[in-house]
């Protein structure tokens, strides 16, 4: 009994101490709750973004400087972090927003914004976007809209095409297509890859800038062949059609015969590095990589051509928007920044420096792209017109990050596990249907 009483008291003393320490801790932290206004009454907003290639970083820096000089009462704190394909960009953001330590503005891919907006994590910015609603690209507006409210600024778009090592192609006497009508067919593309490999010019024929987090970059191949990932109403999977299975078989064949083994969905190869080091002759990648190639392709000449076609042409819809977390502490200043970035001339300046494509139809050329050969961008603008509306709608569904994971798993299985395309299609169909609640 005595021991029991003693234990009882011990516990109480312990919890008392615990309480004291906790209370002291709380008292300490309440003093430093972030008032982002400093003594001069300046508001600081935090902007989280990535800049994968040189151009976009300059674009952001210049525009932020311009914004600060126009709005002397607001300071923008730049938090540049590794890009989504390199690191855990969204993990960090989700944790910060979930932990109520949200930044004020962040850059977000169209494929990801639905995941945030559908969970109420973003601030409704309809009032900023409303007046220019009709001027934005329709697919991009779909991406940033959830239940009739706009949750982000469609900042810019981009697309992918085929970069080629001109030095190699010259040796093979191959001339890359210069118009969309002449674009290589699937067979012609793999034939070039085959020749590059067989003539010993490079150990690999083709590389693709598509990994588990960007598995959606394989989607254009479905649309080339008249297939799609989802049914027209986007309510169910549609990947067991003969056309879709043919596409999966084509991807498998291309990987097995012409791609570096490390260029799989989970592989550790850097496709950009494979290309700049001459270890691959063709690379499927986006317009934003041009500055990188200009600075890194020292030993080779290079160029860019259209995505291949099968039954029709198609490419990927990429690009990013800007959004404000719903628990941002400086929403007024953040909205001001968002509106500023969306202004016509600022959009134009950003896409010219970052080598992107405009998100607004009233931002028109000629663009003064900051590259040696601005014509190269015309090809991307032309290619971007081949993006199927259904592809844009598919990748901007709120459930898309789960679908993307399933797609990446399936492609990885095709690539590395020698899986049968028909079986992979069946599994993928099942997984997508369960994600969509079918």
């Amino acid at each position: 009994m005595k021991a029991l009483i003693k234990g009882f008291f011990n516990i109480h003393i312990f919890s008392l101490l615990l309480l004291i320490v906790i209370l002291t801790g709380c008292a300490g932290s309440s003093e430093e709750t972030s008032t982002s206004k400093d003594t001069k009454g300046k508001t600081t907003i935090e902007f989280v973004y990535w800049a994968a290639a040189g151009g976009e970083e300059k674009g952001f820096n210049d525009l932020i400087a311009k914004f600060e000089s126009e709005n002397p009462e607001i300071k923008v704190k730049k938090s540049q972090v590794p890009s989504p394909s390199q690191g855990d960009y969204y993990t960090k953001l989700q944790t910060r927003i979930g932990g109520n330590d949200a930044p004020d503005v962040f850059r977000v891919q169209y494929q990801k914004i639905g995941e945030f907006s559908s969970k109420g994590a973003l601030l409704d910015v309809t009032d900023i976007i409303e007046k220019d609603k009709d001027k934005y690209n329709k697919s991009l507006m779909t991406a940033v809209t959830y239940e009739d409210k706009v949750y982000g600024l469609p900042h810019h778009t981009d697309t992918i095409a085929i970069f080629y090592n001109k030095t190699y192609l010259d040796k093979l006497n191959i001339k890359a297509p210069t118009t969309l009508d002449e674009a290589w067919t699937w067979e012609e593309l793999t034939d070039v890859a085959k020749q590059i490999k067989e003539k010993g010019l490079a150990p690999n024929g083709i590389a693709m800038n598509a990994s588990a987090s960007s598995a959606y970059r394989t989607l254009p191949f479905f649309f080339h062949n008249g297939a799609s990932l989802l049914t027209d109403d986007l309510k169910a999977a549609n990947v067991t059609t003969p056309e879709a299975i043919e596409t999966l078989a084509f991807l498998k064949d291309t990987y097995t015969n012409y791609m570096s083994k490390g260029n799989s969905m989970k592989g550790s190869d850097d496709p950009t590095m494979l290309f700049t080091s001459g270890n691959v002759g063709l690379l499927m990648s986006g317009n934003w990589m041009i500055p990188k190639f200009e600075s890194d392709m020292k030993d080779f000449e290079w160029g860019v051509t259209y995505m291949p076609v099968s039954k029709s042409s198609a490419s990927d819809m990429g690009g990013n928007g800007l959004a404000i977390p719903s628990n941002s502490k400086n929403t007024e200043a953040a909205k001001k920044f968002l509106a500023f970035m969306g202004e016509k001339e600022n959009v134009k300046e950003f896409i010219e420096k970052g080598l992107f494509l405009p998100s607004r139809s009233d931002v028109t050329g000629p663009f003064n792209y900051d590259v040696k050969d601005p014509k190269m961008l015309d090809l991307f603008i032309e290619q971007s017109k081949t993006v199927p509306v259904e592809l844009a709608e598919t990748v901007t569904l709120p459930e898309f990050s789960k679908i993307n994971q399933a797609l990446g798993d399936s492609v990885e299985e095709l690539y590395t596990q020698d899986a049968d395309p028909e079986k992979v299609a069946k599994d993928l169909e099942e997984k997508i249907n369960s994600i969509l609640g079918k």
Binding site: K6, F9, N10, I13, F14, L17, L18, V21, I22, D88, Y90, T91, Q94, T95, I97, G98, E115, F116, K119, G120, A121, P203, A212, S213, K261, G262, S264, M265, K266, G267, S268, N279, S401, K402, Q405, D409, E412, E413, Y415, T416, Q417
Partner: protein
Amino acid sequence: MVSSIAKWYEKKHIKLVPYLFIAPNMLLFFTFMIIPILFTFYISFHEWGLFGKPIFTGIENYTRMFRDKVFWTSLGNTVYYTAGTVPLSAALGLIGALMLNQKVPMRAFFRTIFFAPVVVSLVAAGLIWSWMFNPNYGLFNEILGHFGVSGVDWLSSSTWAMPAVILTTLWVRIGYCLVIYLAGLQAVPESLYEAADMDGANGWQKFWRVTLPMLKPTTTFILVMEVIHGFMVFDLIYTMTNGGPGYSTTVIVQYIYQKAFTEGEMGYASAIGTFFFFVVMIMTMVQMRIGREKD
């Protein structure tokens, strides 16, 4: 007043000071271990994606887990990885310790060399070793090439990726086992070896009948630590293979990470985490029991 309180404490035999000393530690332990663990249990019965309110779903996450093929694959891989690393690192650590326990020159130097990998960050180790395994410019295939063996594409092959990861782990963990065993060896009393000598025991008998039984507590400790380490592996695999090719090197902790942070399914990830918590706890309890019984 103060003195009367002090008297009261004295009378009740309550010592305040020890609690003050352990308070900071307990506070951190509660904040960063107990509370998150309890929260994980709670969230495992819900559907939640970091934002918004968790939706209660009962045991759905658990029933889904048992039907999930990838879950079983990653559980199998975890066992494969653990079975591949634990016996080897313990055995090689013991051999190394026995050798370094002799009077070899530069003993301290070798100990440092073998222990050095333990303090290297696993992320750095993973990166360096993935270069060594690289098919184009890696050290391994270079060496194999000198012997006329054509190399394999280690990390891109479903068969060879896991052995490559295990090899890397051994490089790190042998040093750890070695140092612990070395400490254990030095605690074996010299008199036991003298007695064995008098009875005419040879070297092998001395090892088998004296050294090994005396090292039993050390071995138990090492096995427990290594099994836990094996079950918890994440960073090394994340940097070396990212779980691929396919799911051939995906382990449980990584699958939890993927579900929670890539796909935003906190509830389901927590369910796997909870399940795994009990697996590790039971494993450790069994090991401790075995280690104790034979004492």
